[in-house]
Subunit: 411 residues, 2 copies
């Protein structure tokens, strides 16, 4: 397998960009990324463009990447429009990586953009329906209600509805986990408090304020046991990465070479994950990513994982092999995933605090990890980080999470 | 470069499927394709899923391929959702081809589906707006009105509006071509008559009736000089292809090996094509595809090209090097592209007669060419076809056609 390097990354500060359209956000992050990589737009040989909601909010369903990249002045370059819901950003990275592996391309761009604050006509949480298999929504909730019927933790009545399907699904996963393994709501709050603390140190985070475990617990309930500050916010944003082959890298100045980060492995998988009893597709993707990179979980110095809600992060500790299955809550409580713990997770603040503009999120993770591996993360720098892992998930088909990516980077 | 083979193809008969949803169309074509390839769903290692309008008509914006492929019983396989407007189908083929080139995958599926007759609430032609850069629509028509200001053929007043942007744009291209090269409306009608004749021989075609040049000319005007029967119809459909590596092919029975078709080259390009004076991106894509395949235009025995309107086919004769620039109209008139001419073009009936369910169209071309190369095309068989070319275009950004693919197949 050919060596592939990331030579440039950028992420906008995620948040509200009511005055800027998708094209403007893409142009800003793309221009920054070219400067970071020390190359020009003419060096880009292919583009992998991730977006989920431009069609939903603005009816720009078709050839979105072509429209955005034309605004960036990029011409005569193949542009592939890609979508995998919340995992779209790292699917773009994965596709750009595969382009280099084919030997047909030496320098490829992965870019992701989404705007959730675009249009006051739409309620924000409407958007969360977009990735749920519309025809099967009833079935999803029936199955979940069945699944949590015998759990021994109290389920308030308002959890039975389907107001915000994603957070209801996450809440039900949390209830199952609490029931099966003794995970506590306080442990969930610790995840959120950690990620809010990390976000407070990250100038690119949407939320840059600290929260204590108590404050998280006292916040209003979205879907029990999840409080608002345990859930990723809505946001706008764009992020990108420039990838190249070894041959391309060798021709670049030392200043670029020294900051390059190698993609040790990249895995994209789709599959089902109906109950906590089945092995998650995410765990399978991670296993393959470790094998491909010749690494084990103990080798990972820093990770960004898909904490769309706090229970997501806990389950991903287990999926990624950072701790045994069922012990994610205790692992959080041990302090291992704190910024200066054994394996810092979500130093950026994660989706909970850095923000979650759907198709930009995964590339936001890559931006953070490349920054960490370069030693450029300032006050949130993980000391001596040499190997990093990003896990990004997206969509929901019935009870399946649709798409997972696991990317291992090293320097 | 590794050898990649197409071992299975299928196309539904394009047309109206009001009683069937996207998932059902995909399942039918996928099941047929597995039978054609003599493999099972378990052999498929990756899926490239093309769709343009499921979001537009049904709000199923996210993870469309995951939803459709789950319905087909396919699990634990990476599914990449792709979009390049009318070129989406061959973008899926191109991406599946690249998957095999990486060495990571041995057997990949490309599938495309679209339904344009889905929802009576929407006017069909609304859909044609989807791929036009919405923010620049005014600019597009201003520029075109400027471009055709000095043409010497009569332009009826109703061409100035923007009722059906794609057909207005094609009409303006036709007017420019008529003015610059002396192409006639009758030559355009000959393209449509040829494609209607071919469609009458194709059981998979949406329109299976013959039309004379005179009947085409007498049909009602959509946008002068284009009459209705010179324009691709709206339609529903799905089509797919299964690709594999040489290693995978070698393990299959002789009956499959004998019918396998090699992908000699596959090129996907995006770019501008503002006026007839600039060299088309399509011509550049073709040049690269010929070079990659070690072929010249004279080697092509049969071609499917993107005749979204009759002028499209004439211009693509030129782009693909079948005749010199400006001589497309005369080339049609010479009979060279008739079913038993020097280089038969659109033996399937083309988009005009076989139909044009956006993301399925390109794979419909591939289905036709593989069928021709296998010698299984029955009454429309091109004798001795060994090398075939498909050209598929999509989208419109400002005055740029956004995306082109050129695929060369050989047996």
């Amino acid at each position: 397998m050919k060596n592939v390097y990331i030579i440039g990354v950028d992420s906008l500060k995620f948040g509200k960009y009511k005055e800027h359209d998708h094209r403007e956000l893409v142009k800003e992050t793309f221009d920054n990324c070219l400067v970071d990589a020390g190359i020009t737009a003419n060096d880009i040989q292919s583009v992998h463009f991730a977006n989920s909601l431009w069609g939903y909010y603005n009816r720009q369903d078709g050839i979105r990447g072509h429209i955005a990249m034309r605004h960036c002045g990029l011409e005569k370059v193949p542009i592939t429009n890609l979508e995998a819901a919340c995992a779209s950003g790292t699917l773009a990275l994965h596709s750009a990586w595969k382009d280099i592996l084919t030997g047909l391309f030496d320098c490829s761009l992965a870019v992701g953009v989404d705007k959730l604050y675009m249009d006051d006509k739409h309620k924000m949480f409407d958007a969360f329906y977009f990735a749920v298999d519309i025809a099967n929504k009833e079935e999803v909730f029936q199955e979940w209600n069945e699944a949590v019927k015998n759990v021994n933790v109290p389920i308030p009545e308002y959890n039975q509805g389907a107001r915000s399907p994603f957070m209801d699904i996450y809440a039900n996963i949390a209830l199952s986990h609490m029931n099966q393994y003794g995970t506590t709501q306080e442990q969930l709050a610790m995840v959120a408090a950690k990620n809010h603390h990390n976000g407070s140190l990250n100038p690119k985070a949407q939320f840059q304020f600290d929260m204590s475990t108590e404050q998280v617990l006292e916040d209003r309930i979205v879907s029990y046991p999840l409080t608002r500050s345990m859930c990723a916010p809505m946001g706008d944003g764009a992020a990108c990465a420039i990838l190249c082959s070894e041959e391309f890298l060798e021709k670049l100045p030392d200043s670029v070479k020294e900051r390059a980060v190698k993609i040790a492995s990249s895995v994209y998988m789709s599959g089902r994950n109906r109950t906590l009893k089945e092995r998650s597709t995410c765990a399978e993707a991670a296993e393959l990513a470790y094998r491909m990179a010749g690494k084990i979980p103990e080798d990972i110095d820093v990770a960004e994982v898909h904490d769309a809600s706090a229970i997501g992060e806990i389950i991903h500790y287990e999926n990624l092999g950072f701790c045994p299955v069922g012990e994610g809550g205790k692992f959080m409580e041990s302090g291992a995933t704190q910024l200066h713990g054994k394996i810092p997770v979500n130093p950026s603040g994660g989706l909970i605090s850095r923000g979650h503009p759907i198709a930009a999120s995964g590339l936001g993770q890559i931006y953070e990890l490349v920054t960490q591996l370069r030693g450029e993360a300032g006050v949130r720098q993980v000391n001596g980080a040499k190997v990093a892992l990003a896990e990004n998930g997206g969509g929901n088909v019935g009870l399946e999470e649709a798409a997972f990516t696991v990317t291992i980077l090293e320097r």
